[in-house]
């Protein structure tokens, strides 16, 4: 259907972004496909081998899944930060991803977690790292007729933790001005692997390998944190807009990267 529609075709999951764009007259869909009643897109499966979250699973439903919240507290928190309780009842990770806003809350956390998107079309199915989906503000690498069926999170080794922090001027209801997601695994008290991702500081969420390198091998001491913050700030290519300045985003990206790393470290059992 999506493939054959000549006009503007959209997938409707939670609708919390799509309906706003329709209301404001930014888009006039010729076709809307509601995926909420497709069973494969509506469920969460969680096992030792990994976690699969259907594209139509709402933020609230994800938040209520205790096992996923234990394994991936950062991813779940990030998803639960999307909007109010009203929005949580409807919004989805995949919708958040495909809306392709550089400030999407769940995206840095997903990328930090090494999440993959299961992309389906009439001709088949492929698995793509989340960071390859969004190519720019409002743009994705999905081809016409392709939709994301689910997000897959890898198996979680022991001694791992993740965290997501965003800065907003209020306590709720805002779009992130800057955000940071960190996921890491410890070995004998030291950080063995890490992924650090920033949001709202570039056209897409950015994975910052230099920031990860700054803390790998460390016990997250002051020096490592300082280097991490510097690497985060260095990776920023933000814009000045109504939500923040270049200067502000660059500075606070480092602060949030540091704070998110500390939380993730603690969650992984680091001292």
């Amino acid at each position: 259907m999506l493939e054959s529609e000549a006009g503007a075709a959209f997938v409707l999951a939670g609708g919390t972004d799509l309906l706003v764009r329709m209301k404001l007259g930014h888009i006039e869909p010729a076709l809307l496909v509601d995926i909420k009643r497709i069973p494969a897109m509506n469920s969460i499966t969680h096992s030792a081998r990994g976690t699969r979250i259907g594209a139509a699973v709402s933020g609230a439903e994800l938040g209520e899944h205790k096992a996923v919240a234990r394994a991936w507290p950062g991813v779940v928190e990030a998803t639960n930060l999307i909007g109010s309780d009203q929005v949580q009842s409807r919004c989805t990770m995949v919708g958040n991803l495909c809306n392709a806003s550089p400030a999407a809350d769940s995206v840095p956390a997903m990328i930090a977690a090494g999440a993959k998107a299961v992309v389906v079309s009439r001709t088949g199915r492929r698995t793509v790292p989340v960071e390859k989906i969004v190519t720019g503000p409002g743009q994705t690498s999905l081809a016409r007729g392709e939709v994301i069926e689910a997000i897959v999170l890898p198996a979680r080794p022991a001694r791992s933790g993740d965290a997501y922090l965003r800065f907003i001027p209020r306590t709720e209801m805002d779009i992130a001005v800057v955000s940071a997601g960190v996921s890491l695994t410890l070995e004998r008290g030291r950080i063995k692997t890490a992924r650090v991702v920033l949001g709202a500081v570039a056209p897409t969420a950015v994975l910052v390998p230099a920031a990860a390198r700054a803390i790998i091998g460390s016990k997250l001491d002051e020096d490592a944190l300082h280097k991490l913050a510097a690497a985060c700030s260095a990776a920023c290519k933000p814009i000045d807009d109504k939500r923040g300045t270049i200067e502000y985003r660059t500075k606070v990206a480092g602060v949030l990267g540091k704070r998110a790393a500390q939380i993730a470290f603690q969650r992984a059992g680091g001292a």
């Binding site: 404001l24 007259g25 800065f167 001027p169 209020r170 306590t171 709720e172 209801m173 805002d174 779009i175 001005v177 807009d241 109504k242 939500r243 923040g244 300045t245 200067e247 502000y248 500075k251 606070v252 602060v255 949030l256």
Partner: protein, 759 residues
């Protein structure tokens, strides 16, 4: 006695009790009807086409294709709205603001309107209207608009209030001066002089209910308008005048109002909706979108202010000066002789007893929406500047900021900075209450700071008209012409019950439409409970006269022998000991045979609503790494006069404080270089949400207004005045930076912190 407004010091029985509001059930069940909740048979949907440009000549509007669309019933441009204002410049500006005439003056300015059978059709029609614009240079910043090379918005505006009259038009349309004494001499006496410049960005009232109305004009020239408004009588006369209708032939009904705060004191879409209805010969309903509310209703001014205060070592202020530059959108302020900066200038140093004071108000036009009143209009911005500077003076002198204020506080006999001499006022009492408040002694943690600030507002009375009708069972109907934004039906019912000596539950208050009462001024200036309350007192006293007359007829004794006490007619003297007192219900039951319905009326112009003062205390915590600020604790202390319904008085104090907090921290209109508003929605125009705020403690001081029988003062507005400065002072005390620009948003605070650390 009957119409004497003097304070009576009488012991009050029901006033001051926290009764349930009569419209409560309607409002918790969804039954209450607001602006958008009314529908008329056969109504059309009205939509507006608005300019995307800040300033542009409208070369051509072609509506032909839209008119041909099936379902489109009327299209209006300025050509359908001839100028009938006969030299009344304020009315002409309203007309031009409702629909652009030759030029679009701001992003969002209406250029055409459509009435169609449904929203989809109306939307399609808007897209088919083709407007040819020629872009003109624009200016949105108040300081930029005053520069010599700024684009001059109107070639007909010459600065008023300066001698000699300027030879060239400019964006500065008015200069006003207030004050007394000799400020130069005063500054010469000072040991310390502090000067500082400030900016405050534009904010919106942010009422949750968008403007909405249903208008219907008949071919015979009569019409009806259902509308959310703070002043249905004013809407009636403005709409009738603009459209050439007889005022009495237009009936305006005020719906329940979903917040106004000054923003619903002026017409925006209503005259156009009536014009659409007249053209289509069908009722038309129009509801603004939230985006339209931000772009095209009436926010408050953005400002640029200089303040200079001089003081002696002992803390005595020797001189105070302020220059205020306020923008009012593309048109002069709503009241020709009293534009926005002038009002701000009048309130500037009203809290203080000053020998030498001078204020200058510069009013400026820019390419932004036409400014409207917002709760104590113009006062919060100048209070931010003055009260911040007061803290700086205190710091220079090494005096506690509170003590500096106490030392210089205005009192009875002080000449106010705006001219007159004060009667009994409450600023000193609020400052003493601050001093004694436990909040002032609470411990603060790292990165936390405490600030306090004062505020002033005038309060008004205005033309008022009210009816009180007694049914045959003794229940009482009040009909008032001021609207109920925050529980005034309850307070007015309490007043009637008090005066008549009957239980609160026996009274039911209604808001009358324009057909049921004489003119009532708009419900602004904190006047609702004050002035309608006064009219109800007088109406009740008139009704009591009638009740005594009727008792005299029933008993067949002279009226002079009858007194009204505790809700009963009582015969005075031992010769009448056999006469059992007659209750209001007893007399009402006999009314058909004793002369007909029993009622009281009042038409009056209550004045002297009593000036009002408040002092606020605020604790903040600042995250020094992000500049994020949280309000940890907040206390409002206000002289409210007698609180008729203390719970709703507290509500006014808390609500005003919350709006001030939003203004201080996050709310602002953000314009791009293209002159377009970038954040016309609640997502990026950030009003405080529930999790942003703590409980807001209140302390009501009841200093009676000598000019009201119960001592009532206006209470609604003053509470928005102090928060900006209280928060600025608290931030300064928390992390050492003096903020001079609102909102004190995280990027601004972080930048200030970095500058502090760099120096």
């Amino acid at each position: 006695m009957a119409n004497d407004p003097s304070y009576t010091k009488q012991k009050l029985k029901v006033i001051g009790s926290r009764v349930r509001r009569p419209d409560g059930v309607d409002k918790v069940t969804g039954r209450a009807k607001y602006g958008a909740d009314h529908n008329a048979p056969g109504q059309l949907v009205g939509l507006f086409l608005r300019s995307p440009h800040a300033h542009a000549r409208i070369k051509k509007i072609s509506t032909a294709r839209a008119e041909k669309l099936s379902g489109v019933k009327a299209i209006i441009t300025s050509e359908d709205l001839p100028d009938l204002t006969k030299g009344d410049t304020a009315a002409r500006d309203i007309l031009e603001n409702c629909m652009a005439r030759g030029r679009a003056l701001y992003d969002g300015h209406a250029v055409a309107a459509v009435a169609a059978v449904d929203e989809q059709t109306a939307r399609k029609a808007l897209k088919l209207i083709k407007v040819t614009y020629e872009l003109l240079p624009h200016v949105t910043d108040v300081d930029e608009a005053l520069k010599p090379d700024a684009p001059v918005i109107h070639d007909y505006l010459y600065t008023n209030g300066v001698e000699p009259r300027p030879t060239k038009p400019s964006n500065l349309y008015n200069v006003a001066e207030f004050g007394h004494g000799d400020v130069d001499a005063g500054f010469a006496q000072a040991d310390v002089v502090v000067e500082k410049s400030y900016k405050t960005e534009q904010v919106h009232q942010g009422y949750i209910e968008p403007h909405a109305c249903v208008g219907s004009v008949n071919p015979d020239g009569t019409g009806e308008l259902w509308v959310t408004t703070q002043g249905h009588f004013t809407y009636r006369s403005v709409c009738a005048n603009l459209l050439g209708m007889d005022i009495a032939k237009l009936k305006v009904t005020s719906s329940e109002i979903g917040g106004g705060f000054g923003g619903k004191t002026h017409v925006w879409i209503e005259p156009v909706v009536l014009a659409l209805s007249r053209k289509a010969n069908r009722p038309v309903k129009a509801v603004m979108s939230r985006e339209e509310v931000f772009r095209a209703s009436g926010p408050a001014s953005s400002t640029s202010i200089d303040v200079k205060i001089g003081a002696k070592k002992d803390g005595t202020i020797t001189a105070a000066f302020a220059a205020l530059r306020y923008q009012s959108g593309p048109f002069p302020g709503a009241i020709p002789g009293m534009p926005w900066a002038a009002i701000g200038a009048m309130t500037s140093f009203a809290c203080y007893n000053l020998a030498n004071v001078k204020t200058l108000g510069y009013d400026v036009v820019v390419n932004r929406p036409k400014v409207a009143a917002y709760r104590a209009p113009s006062a919060p911005m100048i209070a931010f500047a003055v009260e911040s500077t007061m803290d700086m003076v205190a710091k220079e002198l090494g005096i506690e900021p509170l003590d500096l204020r106490i030392k210089n506080a205005a009192r009875e006999g002080t000449r106010a900075c705006y001219g007159p001499v004060y009667g009994p006022i409450g600023i000193g009492a609020t400052l003493q209450a601050v001093k004694n408040h436990p909040h002032m002694r609470a411990r603060l943690k790292k990165n936390q700071g405490r600030g306090m600030a004062c505020g002033f507002w005038f309060n008004f009375g205005g033309q008022t008209c009210a009816d009180l009708n007694i049914a045959t069972d003794g229940s009482v109907t009040l009909t008032v012409g001021t609207i109920d934004v925050g529980g005034s039906r309850a307070s007015l019912s309490l007043i009637a019950a008090e005066e008549l000596g009957i239980p609160y539950k026996q009274v039911k208050a209604h808001i009358g439409d324009t057909g049921s009462l004489g003119h009532n001024d708009t419900t602004e200036g904190s006047r609702g409970t004050f002035s309608s309350g006064m009219a109800i007192v007088f109406a009740a006293r008139q009704a009591i006269e009638v009740l005594r007359e009727r008792a005299a007829i029933m008993w067949e004794i002279p009226i002079e022998d009858i007194i009204w006490k505790d809700g009963h007619a009582k015969a005075r003297g031992s010769k009448y000991s056999r006469l059992k007192p007659l209750s209001l219900a007893d007399i009402a039951a006999q009314s058909p045979s004793t002369g007909g319905p029993i009622a009281g009326h009042n038409e009056s112009v209550p004045d002297n609503a009593g000036v009002s003062f408040a002092s606020h205390i605020c604790d903040v915590e600042v995250d020094p790494e992000t500049g994020g600020t949280r309000i940890i604790r907040y206390t409002v202390i206000q002289d409210a006069g007698k609180a008729i319904h203390p719970t709703y008085v507290e509500g006014q104090m808390q609500g005003g404080a919350a709006q001030g907090i939003g203004w201080a921290l996050n709310e602002e209109y953000i314009y791009g270089d293209d002159g377009r508003l970038q954040n016309p929605g609640f997502l990026d125009y950030r009003i405080p949400v529930c999790s942003d705020l703590p409980f807001i403690d209140t302390q009501i001081l009841e200093i009676p207004n000598p000019n009201h029988p119960y001592g009532v003062r206006g209470v609604g507005e003053t509470s928005i005045v102090p928060p900006l400065a209280a928060i600025g002072n608290a931030i300064s005390n928390a992390v050492g930076v003096r903020m001079d620009h609102t909102p004190m948003s995280p990027p601004r605070i972080l930048k200030a912190l970095e500058q502090l650390h760099a120096s």
